[in-house]
């Protein structure tokens, strides 16, 4: 490509980009460009800009500072009803001005611009600005994660119709300096909504995403957040111990039955928001699984009702001598097993009851067992080989998450080595290695019905898997940064993901499409939890704040005050859905009145995202541990809270 024709090619590409075919034709004729060159027209964006710099009218570095100050003044002087919405403009304009300054080689001006206006941007953007400030010349824009995200995506801003009119009028007045207009045209997506401008609190509730707020259109799709109809399970005759009790007090069985009936009465009610049971195929229950379900129901009938006046008891499991090596923990659904993933690639499984962990008999011995026998499951286990703790080796990097399947026969783990492994809890070996993620896998979760599981990782994708496929069934792509946490909806039809781009998204497992995008986090969400009723989603973030989202609307219901001073890494709902509890690296567990949170949102249905100032009262109690950051929280079926943390020594 000749030097002479390069600028012309660039202009041609520009013309094509804006679809100006007439001009393109004429230019081609006049410049006498060959077809071959024309076909290969594919200059990278950065180069294009640098070529055009010479002809660029916006290359005066001083105009940027001036333009930004004038925009700032306009925002400050506008009426209060527009002010807060318009102020969301400042940050994207600021970022793109900085990037353009760098792009046109005004590095000195760029850093001065950053010094001058950087500190006055919102607190939650400061981290991003620090990352952006690393970019100090044109070459570094290429390959910088953040700069590329900003350049290749449009920043979303929501404005009311009136506010956008104001803005348009202002931009018309500023005709002399097209800087801002260009930035808005190229890099900012304005989402106009009818109705009055939002208040400061309303704006603050949803702002904070890496690329601005979610647009309303993203959240239009209907989400079936209701629970599935439970298959009828024959409640087994109560085991011997219960019978003895029954004999002692003849009144008891009746009461119990009444209670059980209650539980059954609730479930079959057809929920209008529930998806059809066959919307996604669910695995058929095996006999043993049915027994397990029956047990769960029986346990549930003995559940303690929790509320602000009857707080749960907490049993805390401390990992001693682990230092900082223990990373993650999980407790299985019936609270009998605890698994911990370590920095040194190993996984340890402890039994929390007196039942020891048994291995399976060797293959020769297994042949001798009568497969038709009723107690075949018991017989196939080794008699002598029993332990309170077993270690699983296989990964070659830190284990970031371990998860028990609902029937506690299998364990999933994901690791820095970009694999997910499925382990058997009967023969204590690795069954499958799922390779698919390219980079470290941060989180993996089972579907509440088993069979499916979902994972998210550093490659910015979330994936849906089935245990019998070695490749993912769905790949959910859309996040602009790492997928840090993932969670299955209780009805198994949806998956929620949280990402470093500070959005929480909900995906439909059936179609693979994104059905909700929720912004409002000011820091990376690290953990997600669905409420037991399926309507609410809680997410805990790196700055210690927890947000409760309403899945039906995709708006934040409540932002719990940031009482935690360190990242929240564990969230759990009590089994009756009245208490939300959060555990953080600051070694505290806090209990929140979840029924109050949801009550307030339903009574204030009109202004659904109106955040109450009385957030303080949501907090019920806070419990500190002895320098043991919380790794996991789990409610037993009877509503006892189990917490896991590792003691990090006296500081």
């Amino acid at each position: 490509m000749g030097d002479k024709s390069t600028p012309l090619l660039a202009v041609l590409q520009l013309l094509r980009k804006y679809d100006l075919k007439g001009t393109e034709e004429i230019l081609r004729k006049e410049a006498n460009l060959g077809d071959a060159e024309y076909e290969n027209l594919d200059l990278p964006e950065v180069e294009l800009a640098s070529i055009l710099t010479a002809h660029h009218t916006e290359s005066d570095p001083y105009s940027y500072e001036f333009a930004y100050e004038s925009l700032k003044k306009f925002v400050e002087n506008s009426l209060d009803i527009y002010k807060y919405e318009l102020s969301t403009f400042l940050y994207p304009v600021f970022v793109h001005m900085y990037l353009i300054l760098i792009l046109y080689d005004h590095n000195e001006h760029a850093s001065k611009f950053l010094e001058k206006f950087g500190p006055e941007q919102e607190d939650y953007y400061q981290d991003d600005l620090k990352r952006l400030a690393m970019v100090e010349n044109k070459e570094q824009i290429k390959g910088n994660e953040l700069a590329e995200i900003y350049n290749s995506n449009k920043f979303q801003v929501q404005l009311s119709r009136d506010a956008s009119t104001q803005l348009k009028r202002y931009l018309h007045e500023q005709k002399s300096s097209p800087v801002i207009i260009n930035i808005i045209n190229n890099h900012i997506q304005i989402d106009i909504h009818d109705g009055p401008g939002r208040t400061q609190a309303q704006v603050k509730a949803t702002i904070g995403g890496l690329l601005g707020e979610a647009s309303r259109n993203d959240n239009r799709a209907k989400v079936y957040y209701g629970l599935l109809k439970e298959p009828d399970i024959q409640v087994l005759p109560p085991p011997v111990e219960d019978e003895e009790e029954a004999e002692e007090t003849p009144d008891k069985p009746k009461k119990k039955k009444a209670k059980k009936d209650n539980i059954f009465m609730k479930k079959p009610k057809s929920d209008p928001n529930a998806p059809p049971n066959d919307r996604i195929p669910l695995p058929e229950l095996k006999e043993t699984d049915k027994i397990e379900k029956g047990k769960a129901l029986r346990e549930a009938s003995k559940r303690v009702q929790l509320g602000p006046d009857s707080l749960p008891s907490i049993c805390f499991y401390t990992l001693l001598n682990s230092g900082q090596t223990a990373i993650c923990a999980d407790i299985c659904d019936d609270s009998t097993l605890l698994a911990v993933g370590f920095n040194n690639s190993s996984i340890k499984v402890w039994t929390l009851t007196t039942n020891r962990l048994r291995g399976m008999k060797s293959a020769e011995k297994l042949q001798d067992i009568d497969r038709e026998a009723g107690d075949v499951l018991v017989r196939m286990m080794e008699e002598k080989d029993r332990d309170t703790c077993r270690t699983l080796f296989g990964h070659s990097g830190p284990v970031y998450k371990v998860a028990f399947d609902p029937f506690k026969t299998m364990l999933l783990s994901c690791s820095e080595d970009s694999t997910i492994r499925l382990w058997s809890l009967q023969c204590w070996t690795c069954l499958v290695v799922y390779r698919g993620h390219v980079w470290p896998v941060w989180d993996v979760r089972w579907s509440p019905y088993g069979h499916y599981f979902a994972s998210g990782g550093h490659d910015r994708t979330a994936r849906l898997w089935a245990t019998d496929h070695h490749q993912p069934l769905r790949i959910f792509a859309g996040h602009h940064s790492d997928v840090d946490c993932i969670q299955f909806h209780p009805n198994s039809n949806y998956i929620a993901t949280g990402s470093s781009d500070r959005t929480v998204r909900v995906w439909d497992c059936l179609t693979g499409s994104q059905v909700r995008i929720m912004t409002g986090h000011k820091s990376t969400p690290f953990t997600l939890a669905f409420s037991t009723c399926g309507r609410w989603l809680a997410s805990g973030a790196g700055n210690g704040e927890t947000i409760v989202w309403d899945i039906s609307t995709g708006l934040p219901t409540a932002t719990l005050p940031p009482m935690h001073v360190a990242p929240v890494h564990a969230l759990a709902f009590s089994r009756d859905g009245t208490i939300l509890c959060s555990g953080s690296l600051d070694s505290t567990i806090k209990l929140w009145d979840f029924s109050l949170i949801t009550d307030e949102s339903t009574t204030e249905e009109a202004g659904a995202n109106n955040i109450t100032q009385k957030e303080e009262k949501f907090l019920l109690r806070s419990f500190a541990t002895k320098n043991s950051p919380i790794k996991n929280l789990h409610f037993t079926r009877r509503n006892l809270l189990l917490a896991v943390g590792s003691y990090e020594g006296s500081s």
Partner: protein
């Protein structure tokens, strides 16, 4: 480097690039090249650190580690840096000099052969699991596994400013207690009670605990006692019961000293030890109760029924160690604890001739042998001082060794079996304590004559001891504990010129007065002309003690009132007496009025709130100590009266 650059991170300088280039053998790196490199390296490092942060977060840590950097490099398809491990954190050392400041990681040279020959290091402990109750029905139990419900800082805040406790009755964050009962009622009645004081209610469980613990501590079951002491030393939630515990101890000591119950006194001291060992308690508030009790157990005239048989010396030794521990832990520049404790013991060692200037020569002359400070008390005082370190021994014991020697000589040649035993113990103790100090002080030619001349009766024995220690090199310098040197002004010479502007600044005058008082108190039988002299003969001996020092003041209570030993009344009366002494018998006629106030503060603690808080606590402390001593003697005297 501008401010904003600090905000958005720093960068490598051209100079450091050049230094690094030199270190890898590139001598002449151009300025431009260095600048390019510096920018590029800065950028790359920042990107790597940013990525490493992700790994840190997902490892649920708040501190970046080397493995995080390795993983970040791996994600970028760069070979990780092998061979760097980091045990815990990287301590950066700082060095400056020649106008340059430098941070560096200290790397020691390791001798490989040493490592090879050394036994293999121990295998680290395996990870284990332990369960405990973090909360039971919403209340956090105070077990050692849980953090203390109230941190030391908040305990301190509460003691300094009790209002803070009231202002937040629903202490959701600090204590996991349900909002009910009194706190809730307080909240409901909306700040009508403005002057409501902080509540000190104990829950039923706490009352039970208190009962169990105190019973176990003084009971006969050694196993239970060990458990109780263990609980006292470890449990984090004791702060609410602490005032009761301290009162229990101090009252217990008062009663058992009178009854000469050695065993119980030992048990009580072990309780003190356990409480001192508990890391979660803010004890400063209760020292005024503990210190008198402990000092009583050190210097009391008699601690057991049969002094000739029972080993009360062990109790004195143990209590002296406790006192040293208290001094070491709680001494601050404001409470001057160690100085005051030292004075207290030094007073007991006072040679009577030194008191002449206050009490007049006639009194000394009339003093009988039996009225001198008992040998057991002397032993205690010596032991108490010895525990405070060699410097204290040098300043306070060594100058009095001649007089002490006389006492020992007198007792050894005397007839009383108990006295002889006590003198023997005292002598042994003195030699043991003094020998290392003397060895440090004197030059090698140890001549018995010199020693005799300088140290009197104890000289020759001391000389033997010292030369024996010199012979054995391992003898060392005795207790090497580096206890701070205490103010060395002779405690019995009140400086008339000293008119302290603030009582806190100079506790010495107040001390002097006390010593005068306690000194005088020993002199019981001396008849004084001005004494108001109540008519009843038996208490008279005692009343003289009290009234001797208060010539002008009319006695507020009758003589009989003084004999009530356990009520707090006598202490108050006493201290008023002390106050009057200051006025009358001080050497300087125009005593500054502050002194009077200062001394008067303690007994009526609550009556004089005007004094500055520092002053109050200080004086309270000193007077508490002295009043306990006085009370002790008082008790002893009264016992004698009844016998």
């Amino acid at each position: 480097m501008s401010d904003a650059e600090l905000v958005y991170g720093s960068s490598f300088t051209v100079d450091s690039m050049k230094v690094i280039a030199e270190s890898v053998g590139i001598g002449s790196l151009g300025d431009d090249a260095a600048k390019e490199l510096a920018d590029d390296v800065t950028y790359r490092l920042k990107v790597i650190v940013q990525d490493a942060m992700k790994f840190m977060h997902h490892s649920k840590r708040q501190k970046l580690s080397i493995t995080d950097i390795d993983h970040a490099l791996k994600v970028k398809n760069i070979e990780p840096q092998y061979g760097f491990i980091q045990p815990d954190s990287l301590p950066f050392r700082f060095a400056s000099g020649g106008g340059r400041e430098l941070h560096f990681v200290e790397e020691k040279e390791i001798d490989l052969s040493e490592i090879l020959s050394a036994p293999p290091p121990k295998i680290p402990l395996d990870v284990s699991l332990r369960a405990h109750w973090l909360s039971v029905d919403g209340v956090q139990p105070t077990v050692p596994e849980n953090p203390p419900p109230l941190s030391k800082e908040s305990q301190k805040l509460e003691s300094v400013d009790p209002i803070t406790k009231l202002s937040k009755p629903a202490t959701k964050d600090a204590v996991g207690k349900p909002v009910c009962g009194k706190a809730a009622r307080l909240k409901a009645s909306e700040s009508v009670h403005v002057k409501q004081l902080a509540t000190h209610e104990l829950s039923v469980e706490q009352q039970l605990y208190y009962k169990e613990i105190t019973e176990a501590c003084v009971g006969s079951d050694e196993g239970r006692r060990a458990e109780a002491l263990q609980s006292l030393a470890c449990d984090p939630g004791l702060h609410e019961m602490l005032p009761r515990m301290c009162t229990f101890i101090s009252e217990g000591v008062k009663v058992n000293v009178v009854q000469n119950n050695l065993a119980l006194l030992i048990y009580l001291m072990r309780m003190v030890k356990a409480i001192l060992d508990n890391q979660s308690l803010y004890l400063e508030k209760y020292l005024h109760e503990l210190i008198p009790s402990v000092s009583t157990c050190i210097v009391s005239r008699q601690l057991c029924v049969r002094p000739e048989v029972d080993n009360h010396w062990a109790l004195r030794d143990f209590a002296a160690r406790l006192m040293a521990q208290i001094c070491k832990t709680f001494n601050t520049s404001t409470n001057n604890l160690q100085t005051r404790v030292t004075r207290l013991f030094a007073k007991a060692l006072q040679c009577p001739s030194q008191t002449n200037n206050e009490s007049g020569p006639s009194m000394v002359a009339s003093m009988k042998e039996s009225e001198k400070t008992p040998l057991a008390s002397l032993y205690g005082a010596v032991q108490g001082l010895a525990e405070l370190g060699p410097e204290v021994i040098k300043v306070f014991i060594l100058p009095r060794v001649r007089w002490l020697g006389e006492r020992v000589e007198g007792a050894l040649s005397g007839i009383g079996g108990a006295d002889r035993l006590a003198a023997g113990n005292l002598k042994h103790q003195l030699l043991k304590v003094l020998a290392p100090v003397v060895r440090q002080l004197r030059q090698p030619p140890d001549l018995p004559e010199d020693y005799k001349r300088e140290y009197g009766y104890l000289g020759p024995s001391l000389q033997q001891m010292v030369s024996k220690q010199r012979a054995s090199p391992a003898g060392g310098s005795g207790s090497g504990g580096a206890v701070a040197v205490v103010a060395c002004t002779p405690p019995l010479l009140p400086s008339p010129s000293a008119a302290p502007p603030a009582p806190a600044a100079q506790p010495a005058p107040a001390k002097t007065i006390e010593s005068v008082a306690s000194r005088n108190m020993v002199i019981t039988a001396s008849p004084t002309p001005q004494s108001p002299a109540p008519s009843t003969p038996p208490p008279q001996k005692f009343v003289i003690v009290a009234s001797q020092q208060k010539p002008q003041q009319t006695q507020p209570a009758s003589g009989a009132g003084h004999i009530v030993v356990h009520s707090s009344q006598p202490a108050i009366v006493r201290s008023q007496n002390v106050q009057s002494v200051v006025v009358t018998s001080g050497p300087a006629g125009a005593q500054p009025p502050q002194k009077v106030v200062v001394v008067g503060v303690h007994p009526s603690h609550q009556a004089l709130p005007a004094a500055s808080s520092a002053g109050v606590s200080q004086v309270t402390m000193s007077l508490a100590v002295s009043s306990s001593l006085k009370r002790l003697r008082y008790i002893i005297h009264s016992r004698r009266c009844f016998l």
